[in-house]
Point group: C2
Chain length 430, copies 2
Amino acid sequence: MAAERRRVVVVGGGFGGLAVAKGLRRAECDVTLVDRQNYHLFQPLAYQVATGALSAPEIATPLRRILRRQRNARVLMASVTAIDLERRQVRLDGLANGANGVLLDYDELVVAGGSAYSYFGHDSWAPYAPELKSLSGALELRTRILSAFEAAEVERDEAARRAWLTFVVVGAGPTGVEMAGQIAELARDVLHRELREVDTRGAEVLLVEAGPRVLSSFPESLSRRAERALAKLGVTVRLDTMVVGVQPGSVSLRGTDGAGEEVPARTSVWAAGVTASPLAATLAAAAGLEVDRVGRLTVEPDLTLPGHPEAHALGDMVAVRDGSGGTLALPGVAPVAIQQGRYTARVIRGGSSGPFRYRDKGNLATIGRSRAVADIKGVRLSGFPAWAIWLAVHITYLIGFENRVLVLTRWAFSYVTRNRGARLIDRTEL
Amino acid sequence: MAAERRRVVVVGGGFGGLAVAKGLRRAECDVTLVDRQNYHLFQPLAYQVATGALSAPEIATPLRRILRRQRNARVLMASVTAIDLERRQVRLDGLANGANGVLLDYDELVVAGGSAYSYFGHDSWAPYAPELKSLSGALELRTRILSAFEAAEVERDEAARRAWLTFVVVGAGPTGVEMAGQIAELARDVLHRELREVDTRGAEVLLVEAGPRVLSSFPESLSRRAERALAKLGVTVRLDTMVVGVQPGSVSLRGTDGAGEEVPARTSVWAAGVTASPLAATLAAAAGLEVDRVGRLTVEPDLTLPGHPEAHALGDMVAVRDGSGGTLALPGVAPVAIQQGRYTARVIRGGSSGPFRYRDKGNLATIGRSRAVADIKGVRLSGFPAWAIWLAVHITYLIGFENRVLVLTRWAFSYVTRNRGARLIDRTEL
């Protein structure tokens, strides 16, 4: 009788989980990739969907499509709601045929659930300031941002119109900076020529950051350049400022100097604070472990659970133990998840040597048309060269040749016409 | 004091309304285009969104974008809920800023509200068989169709699996024929290579038509050719068959011979029966007129309301009186609405001569890859030549150069790879 093939269950079809599945394509095992969605989302470009620059399908590729030629892989659309490390089973709910409580056996388990934005314990703010990690958040924001300009066009009351034309972006990491820049460009370059009653060049985009500079993961000189680029686009950057309340129609701010302010703004975007996927807590509970302050599970240097060499966890939802009792300082970016996924695939294939090590290839953020900053192994670039690198890297990493061509086509049109082509307002649906 | 410019209010941003607005670009008047949505939908390709061949923004162009250079035109996103022909006012509700009951004065009114599918008085069927006239219907169908295949993949029970793999398309007009062909291709060419547990080539697509042939607006020889092309794709055509019930999980059929049948099918698509937009009834009520059996308003040969030369109505929502006491037999297609829109713009500009006359340039329907039928002024084509014409016409009439390039790119990829690139399942949103 032939030996049974090892069953590898990968939970999560993001950058990490997909890298594991692909890394096992020549391995003697059966891979099951489980995700709640049927697609892999290229999350770094979600903000472009939120501002109408790209359509949702252009950054979301069906997982089945990606793995169609990998005969040892299958895809299951379901939620993982429980994990039993002793019996080596995961529980699946919400299958496409309505089934719940389906148990899936594994020999090796990989959990890569990613992260979500955290509202600093104020989940009641979420309805008034959608986030940008999910496609649904991006589409909701697209509708809100475009509707706000429509509202300004028909609003007669000057103060009310001003609130419709004020956009608050919370958090000045790469996503917040990119989002603020895109809203400013949308107002200045696109809608300015299309609205009749209102001058959208007067729209105010407020980028609120609790820390002392934007893009805190970059060298300080690049933060300053990004701030200047944002100012040129008309974005008002508020540093050392915390959000202490988000209500319908306004955002409450407090400076680190204690001064409070309430900004009338009809549209807010949340791009601050990160919390691990609930799968980290599910896995921690199964192993009798705790999660840290931001919901992450701490894993061994080889990305396995303490005492469970067959259970792997990676990506934004984990902290990785280093040799000296602390944890590695890894940014929550796609390259980390991809490298961890490839590493875990190697470990499962039996070919690993030593602990996971992150090779930092550089840091990129775009601010707008021809504007970006890049920090590549100490080489600091800004302006057009950085923007060209940003563009090349994103096109390269985007999955699927068809999507690459479509996104490049859209960007070429946007560059020349300054249009944003995917500007549907979806009032009740989509 | 200069003479006041005439105020033209156009209700509806479909093919007809847009043609009116554009036809007035050099006229001495102010045009206000009112639509509930912010986009013009290229409805003839909505079925391609429903099957993942195109993304929604590719067939939906912002109305403001289309009219951005036409300085005498503005766009208002709102619903028209009442019309006062005496005071020459329309009432707007649901404006973007939340305002309701806004009154808009006009000197000339054009109502072009289009049509919707009719469930033959059985509105309770609607939730179980979405339609294809709106983007929301198309996106709902995309989710249902793709989810049905996902469900078949995980379903163990053979009968249940068969119901997930059975698709009923009601109505064999161009949209029904195109939809049935696309579902069959999706199953046979795309998902067959991606699903592991189920052979999607065994999927059953049932095209149900109450009449004796498909594409009844075409010459009979082309109907037969279309039926053969559908059969080759694996579509089962059921002629002389009426739908007498749509339930979750099944569709009840009855042949004209009286024989009944209940088909277990989890997914149904509605593409039969047409009813005029409720705006026809709103306008009829304002004029003290009646609507006909399918909700249409009867207008004069110059597309105005009897006794109201300043009130125009056109497109799918009207029947046009002819010289002999009857009405013109016009198909409910885009070219009719476009020609009526251009005609009405001429009438408003004061340059009309004689009644509206439709110039029929031909009739096209596609069945699938390289398969179509065309009836162009008596010249009957099928197969690749008809398909090439179909493609050229649709690319030409699609609005926006960017969308033309994107759609052509997607079609080129689909042609070569047989993929459908825009296959998002949206379980809770979008």
